[in-house]
Symmetry: C2
Subunit: 384 residues, 2 copies
């Protein structure tokens, strides 16, 4: 089994973008990387072989969902999450914290951890820094995340400090609880929208022996420019020799900008969730497939796209499937959107390799904001 580790291959001259490689026991991750989200042990609508063919090196699994159903002990007994879901590549699991904090009134936080009720049947559960690590060890993921308290927006500086300091105490406990060195453990930097708190959080965590660092508590409702500022100020301060992960982000433009701040890893439900809701990404426009304008359109979604959907189907057919609520609508749309994201990551890596990231980024963002982003205001709050 390959020892886990990170190799920094190149740093961009004009920006802070980095090209790298994360080794895991289940294979290599080329960074910057986007992780398709496989919440419940499946990337919704895709066979794992398809996920791989689309260019994914790694997927994300949700500890919260798998802990509740079917249960981490069951998955351990059946050989771990990789075998259970037939995905042989690397998996990152979150800690469950973000989902639990989203439960609002259904959860209660103490210094020990968080008690909550299942969204499925209301039954009581808890997560502590120690149990979150134990669950992720049972799942057997390649990258585990520390339980953190996801600071919402807006909060006072005082609330953000209390929350961040608890997150850092929990990170120390997570590190002590970990028993398997073959599974990397990443810490999460909180601190709300306060750069000084972010810096303090980061300095404390950087002094500890984590295999990677994440920025949490962004894309939680704050204005776009505030998120950009936090990422651009905080990311470059993260340890240079460790992977940097921006949790839950984002739109194509968010990713392109965050790469230039030095981020290596991304995950987001946007491509998969939009696909199921008939919102499709292309380089020139966002396509709302149910619109009558596509009714007789014989062209592929995106003539420049190499995905299976674009190679074989017309917009008219995709519209028909969507209007008829066919399963295949979700499958074909997901194939396209995931390929769009993974192709974007291929392009990003290539532009860094060619020492052209700065120029390419500017062109991309100009084009994107005049086109696809302008179309829909880059709404990310698509209903599930």
């Amino acid at each position: 089994m390959t020892e886990p580790g990170f190799e920094l291959l190149k740093e961009d001259a004009g920006t802070k973008a980095r090209l790298g490689r994360i080794a895991t026991p289940h294979g290599e991750i080329r960074t910057p990387a986007f992780m398709p989200v496989g919440t419940q042990g499946t990337v919704k609508g895709l066979l794992p072989e398809t996920v791989r063919e689309l260019g994914a090196d790694i997927i994300l699994g949700n500890t919260y969902h798998l802990y509740l159903r079917p249960g981490h002990e069951l998955i351990r007994r059946l050989g771990g999450l990789h075998r259970f879901m037939n995905w042989p590549g690397p998996i990152l699991t979150d800690s469950g914290g973000f989902q639990v904090f989203s439960l609002g009134a259904l959860r209660k936080i103490t210094e020990e951890g968080v008690a909550f009720q299942s969204h499925i049947d209301g039954s009581p559960y808890s997560l502590t820094p120690e149990s979150a690590v134990a669950i992720q060890e049972a799942l057997g993921s390649d990258i585990m995340m520390c339980l953190d308290e996801c600071t919402p927006y807006p909060v006072t500086v005082r609330e953000a400090r209390v929350s961040m300091e608890r997150t850092n105490r929990w990170a120390r406990r997570s590190l002590s609880a970990r028993t398997n060195r073959m599974q990397m453990l990443f810490a999460i930097v909180q601190g709300g929208m306060y750069p000084d708190l972010r810096r303090q959080a980061l300095e404390e965590l950087a002094a500890l022996d984590f295999e990677g660092y994440a920025l949490g508590g962004v894309s939680v409702g704050e204005p776009k420019d505030m998120m950009e500022e936090i990422v651009s100020r905080t990311a470059p301060l993260l340890p240079r020799d460790k992977p940097r992960y921006l949790m839950g982000v984002g739109t194509p433009a968010d990713i392109v900008r965050s790469v230039s701040a030095g981020i290596d890893l991304f995950d987001c439900v946007l491509p998969t969730r939009c696909a199921r809701n008939g919102l499709l990404f292309t380089n020139t426009q966002k396509v709302v497939i149910k619109h009558a304008r596509w009714r007789e359109d014989e062209f592929p979604l995106d003539e420049t796209c190499d995905c299976y959907t674009c190679r074989n189907y017309s917009r008219a057919y995709l519209r028909h499937l969507y209007m008829a609520r066919e399963i295949l609508a979700m499958v074909l749309n997901t194939i396209h959107n995931v390929r769009f994201y993974l192709r974007l990551m291929e392009r990003i890596r290539e532009e860094i390799r060619q020492e052209n990231y700065s120029v390419w980024q500017r062109e991309f963002l100009d084009r994107w904001e005049d086109g696809p982003a302008g179309d829909t205001g880059e709404k990310t709050d698509i209903p599930e």
Copy 2:
């Protein structure tokens, strides 16, 4: 383009089973054949490449559904149904009659044809023998069906006669309306559960120049033994040198028995609809995947099955996906059930080829009725 035609390769000595080959412009159909149902221009949950890999030579499309949405003229303009849905193989389209007659109060039959309201939005439509052919010519299917009046069960002999005679008049009109000889046209034998009416219907239709013959109005609620009797008495009277199609049938046991009566073609929603509802076929049992007994089951659905699902996933994982209402549950279950049916057809053809159909059929039915059929009473009325 290959001229359409039927070749009878072998007739079983002990039964009336036949081995054959239907040539179409889109490829060959090995008979006896099962046609997976692709109602709205997709076999629900499967990519067309997957349908082919599972062993399907031909699929069925529903004229009623495609006529209403997206419309046959749209499909014609986009190059026909094969191209629209990316299925390069043979397609049989029904006439829409069965679905229209299922509309009950929403439809009105006259000698001219049938007027009805769309189940989607209530808007008015009509089908005549001539328009049903024109629609199927626009779709470009390889095998078209005549518009028929599907006689329900029970009806009086007088009602069955009136209905059958109209169906036969409509068949003559369909034949006159057809303009493209590259698309085969099959007539449908009605006559309810009255063998003499069936014989009369059949003799009249056999005198006309159809490329194939179907038995309609079976599996419409009649007792199982009545259906068996009608099929076993009527099928052997159908023209020997033409394909024989039993519409909408059926369970594995129905298919095995009907093959021994001389049927060549089958279609049924059972494998696909059951799959979506978590009911899975195996040779030893019907598996209701949501049952708690499969919660931790590490074995494949069917260890003797060669399908992708059985090669890669445990019953525990399939149960998890089903309970979590994941799209992949429907996809993996459909792959298995369709493969089960198509593998059964491969076996049927092989047993006829080996001159062993009679012996094999007895063994199969004994085993099936002690096992899978006994489990669930072979209910076919699974909710959509």
